[in-house]
Symmetry: C3
Subunit: 383 residues, 3 copies
């Protein structure tokens, strides 16, 4: 970095950096009021990951997706479409599905309380004894709909009644990662975590490798932080990659590949681990030999669930010997995840101090500064 | 129902129904502010069930009754009267009784902190070293009194300093159920429950059988919901009954009576199960062969305790063979209770949704609409 | 006491007492708002006990001290000074130390997140990649300092940026208890407690023995409450003593000494147990044969930790036989502590009642009235 001209040199390129990048004050991780605004203006308004298509593979299958304080039913219709609805009966507001996932027999969504019945498109089909109620029309009492869009085998939802175009937010993903043929991949493993930190701290943690040498010695060996490159910032998508130092390497305990290259992955992609954050709740990491993603869900202002999934081609999953080797990737990421969770939880604790009024970002944390500005813009939106 | 003239036909009678019965918005089950108002204006102001007289059978016996955030001591004096007082020492505010129930030796209520002593009427009898304190008079420092009234072996209390007449609220009960000779009955069994729902949802659940076919298949077999009749709405009392389809039947696993008819029960009453709600915390269900009642206590805006008691004549309780048969009633109601609790808890969850702004009641839910209006009237009272 | 002239006779002396000493209303033990003010205006502003010097005996040793919602690192420098700092990294606010106590290797305090390094004086020594950041100076990013003062082997801290003089608050302690040679004593035993009551109730409990006859029969035998004398009220220090009835006695299960007299203790002090409260968080009780102290820490408005320590001369601690005998003091105080905790928790419960609007103090509770007035004065301070 050359302070005289405000640029930052990384991998031979001079990037412009803002002169003074201050962090947010600590209240942004602790204020109940700010958290409620984030739910309203981000989680109840933006496109976000719900699940993988494969998690509701047959018509009638459903999965219940928590979004802040809301509960959303995502299900597959008989026409093989994916639909989503608020998990709320239109009669008296009862939560319809108690299970985390299941199957609607005969395509009927039935409230457990007074047995009102909806079809998989959310239309009210049965409402006992309501026939003669003055002014009551079934067509006015469909389940509250939630918008759905699909990409790469992922199901995205948007709770808003007037959602922004999916393409504006997610378009940057469409052209990327085609070589991985994401829709063909399947969940090979799931690591569920629950963390005591604000949801934004996980996104920050994912967008800088300034912490890697100290926090992740093994990761820093396989992909030195000097090799970090940002190559995308568009809509909800911020991303980059890190170069693997070992040829044919990957993020495993010994640094060697955990599986054959995924589908059509070739060339430079064989030496790169991508880290794409898809605001606000998906962290997507295509590796040469597998795809890792995290699904972040706020539980309250200081707590999240963080579900880490590994995607593989079914051919690999059907090969017991290959899956044995794959354990090394799971072990590596479980270890590395926990290293991150520990420091995120420490940051949650420290930022509540009366003395902490903000700090200075390092140049390598410029993406965090960008995330902070996006947050402030979102919070300034009208209700 | 005939929408043109706004009546609802039930068992051959045309009842008038309101044209448009909307439910309360969801906040009434979730707002901390509304809950605090309900405590102040209902639980700290209305007559409500405290316990059965038999629970404090000897002079000096006491039971500690939680009412919202308050704790009330109900005890029997040497003159065999029942008195109630706030469980708060007049010296420095210490909670006097730690136990749920017990016996005051020698008729002395003594604070565990500084040993101030009160008699069973609440009068301050001993206050060590306070004799010479300027302006201090024992007669100004009696325990804070709570009003007490008795009916049917039940002890009712009212925390207000200016309670409404007991007769106005509870008068509708006085003439009813004399055949059961309620004061002679004793607690034969107690099922304690703790539920994650607002207290009003249990009262609503009790006042409609619209949910019975789906939620309670067995109950609906013994007493089809078409047989439901409302026969009382006066003061704090709302009630009705359901007709048993089986002669000599009752609410048990096999639908047959669990015990001989209670005391003088005869005629139509042998084929009826009564469901009377005594606002705000007693649900009273005389059956031909036993009496069931629920005591509802709010713990917080989204949680209650619900104590279910079975009353029998001591003659039945002293007969081991009859009590063996009686298990069938306990089993039936425990099963049926849990079916209700599950849907009430689902309704608590769903009504918190941002999308739920209220729904339409079915004609069979007209009593809920009446309850809602009573609530709004109570909340509109002055502080 | 003679009400006509407003004096109170104790041990042959006429003390003036206020005519009407009312307690605080109950909200002072339950209001979240008042509690937050107490943190700001008392715990974040006043001198208070952090630890004993011996708990960080070697250069590099540290202990982490919770103060309300803050976390403070107290450590010993290479120059053998004791320093304290907020446990907050200046980079992004991460809490630095996770452990309750430990040792900083090589005198380096390193943040676990991005490896910023501070020396034991709090100066920023290493901040990777920050060298070229515009306007960034290491000297502007020292750890936030906390004031430290030592007395009697105790470490006191003050979180304020403009602390009142230590001498003004604590001066009354300096001349007292010299015979015990407090700096030479060491922690012989530690009883940790967690209580469900407001922090002020413990200070009140410590400042009156009006409750002793009822709550502590054994203590009242060894030191009758009539023998209580107040002999100090200056700055943060309020104190007095109780006379032992048995010659060569102490507070043990059999009333006899638990150990030889401490250091130079002689004369009247051999027959006295001192009870000094050092506002807001130290209760100091020199006995003839040992020193007892309690360290009070608020956890929230209705909960505290209360750590009870016994100090002895190392000579006694190195004598196994003497330590066996000393168990009698530990047993006595553990029993007596628990008697106090029970009534304090009962007072916490009772004072939340809507009916409790305050009571009258007994003359023996005059120090509580003084404490209450000090509290109101503190809360009236400007932010």
């Amino acid at each position: 970095m050359n302070p005289s001209n405000g640029t930052f040199r990384k991998r031979g390129v001079d990037y412009p950096v803002p002169e003074e990048m201050f962090t947010l004050p600590g209240e942004y991780y602790h204020s109940e009021d700010i958290y409620q605004q984030e739910l309203e203006k981000i989680f109840y308004r933006r496109w976000q990951l719900a699940c993988r298509e494969e998690q509701i593979s047959r018509p009638g299958d459903f999965i219940v997706v928590p979004v802040g304080n809301e509960s959303i039913i995502v299900s597959r219709t008989k026409r093989d479409e994916i639909k989503a609805h608020f998990n709320v009966c239109r009669h008296r507001g009862t939560r319809i599905c108690m299970e985390e996932r299941g199957h609607f027999e005969n395509g009927v969504i039935q409230c457990p309380y007074h047995a009102w019945q909806y079809d998989l498109d959310g239309a009210l089909k049965g409402a006992p004894l309501m026939r003669d109620v003055s002014g009551f029309k079934k067509e006015d009492h469909s389940l509250y709909p939630v918008n759905v869009r699909l990409w790469g085998g992922f199901v995205f939802i948007n709770l808003s009644e007037n959602p922004a175009p999916f393409e504006d937010e997610m378009g940057a993903l469409f052209e990327r990662f085609e070589a991985w043929r994401l829709p063909e991949l399947r969940i090979a493993h799931h690591l569920p975590y629950r963390l005591k930190c604000n949801w934004k701290l996980i996104l920050q943690n994912y967008q800088e490798c300034y912490h890697c040498p100290g926090v992740h010695p093994l990761l820093a060996d396989w992909t030195p932080f000097q090799n970090a490159v940002h190559d995308c910032m568009e809509g909800a998508v911020i991303g980059g990659y890190m170069e693997l130092t070992t040829e044919g390497g990957s993020m495993t305990m010994d640094g060697l590949a955990a599986a054959p290259p995924v589908c059509d992955v070739s060339g430079d992609d064989l030496q790169r681990v991508y880290y794409y954050s898809v605001y606000p709740n998906l962290l997507l990491s295509p590796h040469p030999d597998f795809v890792l993603y995290h699904l972040i869900r706020p539980v309250n202002v200081g707590e999240i669930t963080n579900d880490c999934y590994f995607l593989l081609h079914p051919e690999v999953m059907n090969d017991a010997k290959k899956m044995e080797r794959f354990q090394s990737a799971i072990e590596f990421w479980d270890m590395t995840n926990r290293q991150d969770w520990a420091v995120c939880e420490q940051m949650q604790l420290g930022t509540s101090s009366i003395r902490f009024t903000g700090g200075r970002y390092a140049p390598q944390e410029d993406m965090l500064y960008a995330l902070d500005k996006e947050l402030l813009k979102a919070l300034a939106e009208k209700k």
